[in-house]
């Protein structure tokens, strides 16, 4: 059977500051190497809801504050509620860094009013004040809450001032090995809700963690074609070597 996936890249011209494109390139290549047809749709301010609804997989990345503000109104009031329904019907999604925060209930800055989020994820984020250090650096963790990937490791780079706290509906994605993770306190990184994942590992999370890319692709196919999918394995030698080298150098 010939499979096809439509991937929605949310706000590529606004929420894509930290090499986020790496995730799309990774998903696209790992599909095409398996002869799964892929279409990437750029979904931005001017794009209609009907386009968004054609997606089998969603991705949204990190941004500068000003660009995040430009996207916020459209995300919270127009596309957010639709994305929430899609995620509640098990469409897989990846929200990285600023998008992870924006998918929660709110962001409380050190000064000024709370910035509302789309309320897709049961979480909130607070900035602890100028005195507290930003959480910056290479980081690693071990997946605890995706049954298929439990015990596998993630490597990445984090750079965030906000501290994120998960509510009961959101499970942590991974246990921190090195780095700050969600809040620098509870030892967890990222979050999982149904088939949607949030992570502070910004920019290109997937290329060095290809198991996560494959997990998203497999879930997207299962939901779309309503059957159990076992992806054709790929060798992924270069991915594993780069992953291991980083893991070894920081843990």
């Amino acid at each position: 059977m010939k499979f096809k996936l439509t991937i929605a890249w949310l706000y590529p011209d606004l929420m894509s500051t930290y090499g986020d494109r790496g995730n799309l390139i990774c998903l696209e290549k790992r599909c095409s190497w398996r002869k799964i047809e892929v279409e990437i749709k750029n979904i931005t301010l001017e794009t209609g809801i009907s386009e968004l609804l054609t997606a089998d997989l969603l991705f949204m990345g990190g941004a500068q504050d000003r660009q995040q503000k430009v996207a916020a109104d459209d995300f919270i009031h127009h596309k957010g509620p639709v994305i929430k329904r899609m995620i509640n019907s098990d469409i897989p999604a990846l929200f990285v860094c600023a998008a992870y925060q924006a998918a929660g209930y709110y962001y409380k800055p050190y000064h000024g009013k709370d910035i509302p989020g789309a309320g897709i994820f049961d979480l909130y984020t607070e900035h602890p004040g100028d005195q507290k250090q930003r959480l910056i650096g290479n980081c690693a963790s071990e997946i605890v809450n995706l049954s298929e990937l439990k015990g596998t490791t993630l490597v990445g780079f984090e750079n965030h001032g906000g501290r994120t706290y998960l509510g009961g509906k959101m499970k942590p994605l991974a246990k921190v090995l090195t780095g700050g993770g969600n809040n620098g306190e509870d030892g967890f990184e990222g979050g999982v809700y149904r088939h949607a994942i949030g992570s502070y590992y910004h920019g290109p999370l997937l290329p060095k963690n290809p198991q996560l890319a494959d997990w998203l692709i497999a879930r997207a196919l299962e939901v779309k074609y309503r059957k159990k999918i076992k992806l054709q394995p790929l060798v992924s030698f270069e991915e594993k070597v780069a992953h291991k080298k980083m893991l070894k150098s920081i843990t």
């Binding site: 500051t17 001017e46 500068q64 920019g203 270069e238 070597v241 780069a242």
Partner: protein, 425 residues
């Protein structure tokens, strides 16, 4: 005065000492020490420069533009001092001036042309009053170290608002956020940009940072694009638009679109300082590449061109230039040390996909494996060499004609060290 003299003597002694021991040419710590003894030493030293100071800021092009300005001013009969790109923070700039001053703080020169780091520009224009400040461009660069483009723009806008009105502000009309800085300034503002039609594109590359109106936030309309977010822009909502540049058709002495911008900026400064058109054109022709920027070297009998490439906008332009020069062999070197930025995520914003399949690619550096992975996902064939000296030897050995080397900052210094056998900066 006593404090300043003490600062100078100690600063100079430390500089001499570190040069003697070959710890790098004087470095930045003589400046650091002198500033801790006399916090206003920069201001005092600057006051002794006979005709004045030019400050050059921006993500890409600082070193080349500084060199162009220096070349023109010297041709006009001035003695000019400058700093190196490794010394473009306030301590490095101070060190560069101390090195050339006598113990009374007198500097025997007409002009100082100084490049400054993005984060240091506000502190520098607060301390001294330059004749001209050039803002070249702002692109995403070492986000873990500098912060985002918008954050830097805000700091610059505030600094420029409070700047002494005697300073001429030289701005890139094609970079929306840079051009908008002119609206905050009551002093003299001069714009430069590009008007060449045949180099225009009509779609963006992925890495753009300023495509929304800096005034009202609406998406800007671009009638033409040169690279990244540089182009002919306007806002259809609030009416803000690209100012008409006064400097746009000066001929660039070096390849690359980015050098065309650097040339316009240098000409704008020279004209503002009273140099005649004919002399500007003539002396621009004499400009040779700056340290590591399209610099030509020879290694094991093979010609080699070194092109510093440290962020997506710069890297894309280096690649375009190299491909335009019909490169057959490319060595890409990615480090993640402090001067490079620890975060290498940005390589996924570089359009490596434009490299033709027949080009032979070698990847090296601290993060060679990440770069290799990026090549794999760009569908390119490549060789990985984790030891830099082996990488250069092999790549140069294989090169049919010239080897083009695109390194990050610390990698560029390492390569020069390997080739020359000693530390240079």
């Amino acid at each position: 005065m006593i404090r300043q003299t003490a600062a100078l003597i100690i600063g100079q002694a430390v500089g001499q000492f570190s040069r003697l021991l070959n710890l790098g040419a004087g470095g930045t710590w003589p400046g650091e020490l002198a500033l801790s003894i006399d916090p206003h030493i920069l201001k005092n030293l600057a006051g002794h420069i006979r005709k004045g100071i030019v400050i050059v800021a921006g993500t890409n092009g600082k070193t080349t533009t500084t060199l162009m300005i220096k070349t023109i001013l010297e041709a006009n009969g001035n003695s000019v001092i400058n700093n190196s790109s490794g010394a473009n923070l306030i301590n490095g700039i101070t060190a560069s001036l101390i090195r050339q001053a006598d113990i009374w703080g007198r500097l025997n020169c007409d002009y100082a042309v100084l490049e400054t780091d993005e984060n240091s520009l506000p502190a520098i224009v607060e301390e001294i009053t330059p004749n001209a400040v050039v803002c070249l461009n702002l692109f995403r660069d070492q986000l873990d170290r500098y912060g985002e483009v918008d954050v830097i723009t805000e700091k610059w806008a505030l600094a420029i608002k409070n700047m002494n009105k005697k300073t001429a502000l030289i701005l890139n009309s094609d970079d929306p956020q840079i051009a908008f800085l002119g609206k905050k300034y009551a002093g003299k503002t001069v714009y430069f940009g590009l008007n060449v039609k045949k180099l225009q594109k009509y779609s963006f590359e992925h890495a753009t940072d300023s495509i929304f109106c800096p005034n009202c936030g609406r998406r800007l309309k671009f009638a033409a694009i040169y690279y990244s977010h540089l182009g002919w822009w306007q806002c259809l909502k609030c009416g803000l638009k690209r100012p008409d540049p006064e400097f746009f058709n000066w001929e660039s002495p070096l390849p690359g679109l980015y050098n065309k911008y650097n040339t316009q900026a240098a000409a704008a400064v020279a004209k503002t300082l009273g140099v005649e058109d004919g002399l500007i054109a003539k002396s621009l022709k004499k400009v040779s590449p700056a340290f590591g920027r399209q610099e030509e070297l020879v290694h094991q009998g093979k010609p080699l061109k070194l092109m510093l490439s440290k962020n997506p906008a710069g890297f894309n332009e280096s690649l375009r230039t190299v491909i335009g020069l019909k490169a057959k062999n490319i060595l890409l070197v990615l480090n993640d040390r402090i001067p490079d930025g620890r975060d290498v995520s940005w390589i996924w914003d570089v359009d490596f996909e434009m490299i033709p399949a027949k080009v032979q690619i070698t990847v090296a550096g601290d993060r060679a494996l990440d770069l290799g992975l990026r090549m794999k996902y760009a569908g390119l064939k490549y060789a990985v060499e984790t030891v830099l000296s082996n990488a250069i030897n092999k790549a140069a050995g294989q090169a049919e004609e010239k080897l083009y080397v695109l390194p990050t900052y610390s990698a560029m210094l390492d390569i020069r060290k390997i080739i020359s056998g000693k530390k240079i900066l």
